[in-house]
């Protein structure tokens, strides 16, 4: 998985490509833990993400909990397969998905 980060003032856009699974989830977790200082708008661009496992979903959940205290979070460019995973797990009701 590759992670790209783009910061514009208090908005952070995190682009993910490849597989977000148990092996790569810790990389994203590190971003959530280290790069959210002063961020009030967090956007995940999932255009090139092909797979998300439960470990990946838990990192999104953690990010959502962090952002609930300080701003907003959204997931954009979500492909149908991954949208399906958000729907069946019930995460679609928790996240803002565009």
């Amino acid at each position: 998985m590759e992670i790209s980060k783009k910061k514009e003032e208090s908005k952070l856009t995190v682009g993910l490509s490849g597989r977000l699974d148990t092996l790569t989830a810790p990389q994203l977790e590190a971003v959530i833990q280290n790069d959210l200082d002063g961020v009030t708008e967090l956007v995940f661009d999932l255009k090139d993400l092909v797979y998300v496992s439960s470990a990946g979903l838990r990192v999104f959940l953690m990010a959502q909990k962090t952002m609930n205290k300080k701003g907003s979070m959204e997931l954009c460019n979500v492909c149908d397969d991954i949208k399906e995973v958000f729907t069946i797990t019930g995460f679609a009701d928790i996240f803002t998905i565009k």
Partner: protein
């Protein structure tokens, strides 16, 4: 040969469609369906498309005309391919059309586990399917998946329940594949690391117990345990029974999550991450109820036959008892022997209550060994009731 088959169940008349319906057979299909409808006395007619592979516009027009005869008509068990035809033509907006379960073949799939209810197969690098032995497992499957889903969005680490599929004549529940080892296996392989695993095991337990659930979402364990106690009314000394009943009803209602079957085979580690499986016993209630079931899993079950711990936990009895003894100080944050003994007695009195009821229901009184075991459970409960004054941990 008839192009349709019919059956009636629970006041619903099912008309099963087969293979293909196109211009070559649509008129015959229509005639047969109309004929069948004439014989039907049930208030509802349903078209079952489980065996339907294709439908052309001529077939769709038949359905439209049938709808005029029976306005309640709906179509069920539609495959993805046929659903697409209904959707593209706008039919899904006119008539209730529901998809059937995806059909899965497990031919050539590796068996990776086997339990009391079914077998687990590896489907591909990311998914497994748990195929149930009994054909009518659907309500159980949906119940477990719903509990797992609720726990998952509350932050309890578990595998993703994907979809339900038809596998031959039974049903399978598709889950994310975890490349994980159970704590039981890890402890068996590295007994010198036991302390480390017990710490992780207790950490996850605390996380579960600190998770608040919506009261409507999970069963109330307190009510379940009151049921166990009520069952034992005629089998315990009446003053003792009164006391047990009073103790259990005095346990406060608690909306925090409990797992209900928390043991080292149901907790896994994947790349250092601790995960929980087997969510069908999830409930809400006071932790004392959880400790009752943990006591059984590590101590109570094996009172008469220590070797059985190998069957249940894959661990020798000395190890299971040691896990139980090591858990308590970690969970309760004390090494005070008297306090820990009090916790154990509270867990044990409820644990044995469950075991006694279970054995009586399984015709335990029919054998000499059964009677002896029931008497043992009774003693374990009654002696503890002499000094237990609250089940508060």
């Amino acid at each position: 040969m008839s192009l349709i088959t019919t059956c009636e169940k629970d006041n619903i008349f099912y008309i099963q469609l087969h293979n293909r319906i196109d211009s070559s057979n649509a008129p015959v299909v229509e005639e047969e369906i109309l004929g069948a409808m004439k014989t039907c006395t049930a208030p509802t007619v349903v078209l079952d498309a489980d065996d339907l592979e294709y439908i052309s516009s001529a077939g769709l027009r038949v359905i439209l005309r049938l709808r005029k005869v029976r306005s309640e008509l709906k179509i069920i068990n539609v495959s993805s391919a046929v659903y697409e035809i209904f959707e593209m033509t706008g039919f899904t907006e006119m008539i209730p059309v529901s998809k059937g379960y995806r059909k899965l073949s497990i031919e050539g799939c590796e068996v990776i586990g086997q339990g009391a209810n079914g077998k687990v197969y590896r489907l591909d690098q990311d998914t497994i399917v748990k195929v149930y032995y009994k054909a009518d497992a659907l309500p159980d499957i949906h119940r477990e998946r719903e509990l797992a889903r609720k726990a998952f969005i509350l932050g309890i680490p578990t595998a993703i329940p994907y979809d339900v599929a038809r596998v031959g004549n039974s049903y399978g529940s598709v889950f994310e594949l975890l490349n994980a080892k159970s704590f039981s296996r890890l402890i068996a392989e590295n007994p010198q690391e036991l302390d480390k695993y017990v710490v992780l095991f207790v950490d996850l337990l605390k996380k579960i117990h600190s998770t608040l659930v919506n009261p409507d979402d999970m069963p109330d364990q307190r009510a379940v345990v009151i049921g166990w106690v009520e069952f034992l009314k005629d089998y315990l000394d009446s003053a003792k029974w009164e006391k047990l009943h009073k103790l259990v009803t005095a346990v406060p209602v608690n909306h925090h999550m409990i797992h209900g079957d928390y043991h080292t085979k149901n907790v896994m580690v994947q790349n250092g991450e601790v995960l929980l499986i087997d969510m069908d016993t999830l409930a809400q209630g006071d932790p004392v109820f959880e400790f009752a079931s943990i006591f059984n899993a590590y101590v109570g079950f094996y009172d008469f036959d220590h070797d059985r711990s190998m069957d249940f936990q894959g661990l020798p009895y000395e190890t299971t008892v040691s896990i139980w003894k090591k858990m308590l100080p970690l969970y309760f944050g004390t090494t005070d022997e008297a306090k820990l003994k009090a916790v154990e007695d509270k867990a044990a009195v409820l644990g044995y209550t469950r075991l006694m009821r279970r054995l009586i229901r399984r015709n335990g009184f029919d054998t000499e060994e059964g009677r002896k075991t029931i008497e043992h459970y009774k003693n374990q409960i009654e002696t503890r009731l002499d000094f237990i004054d609250t089940l508060q941990l």
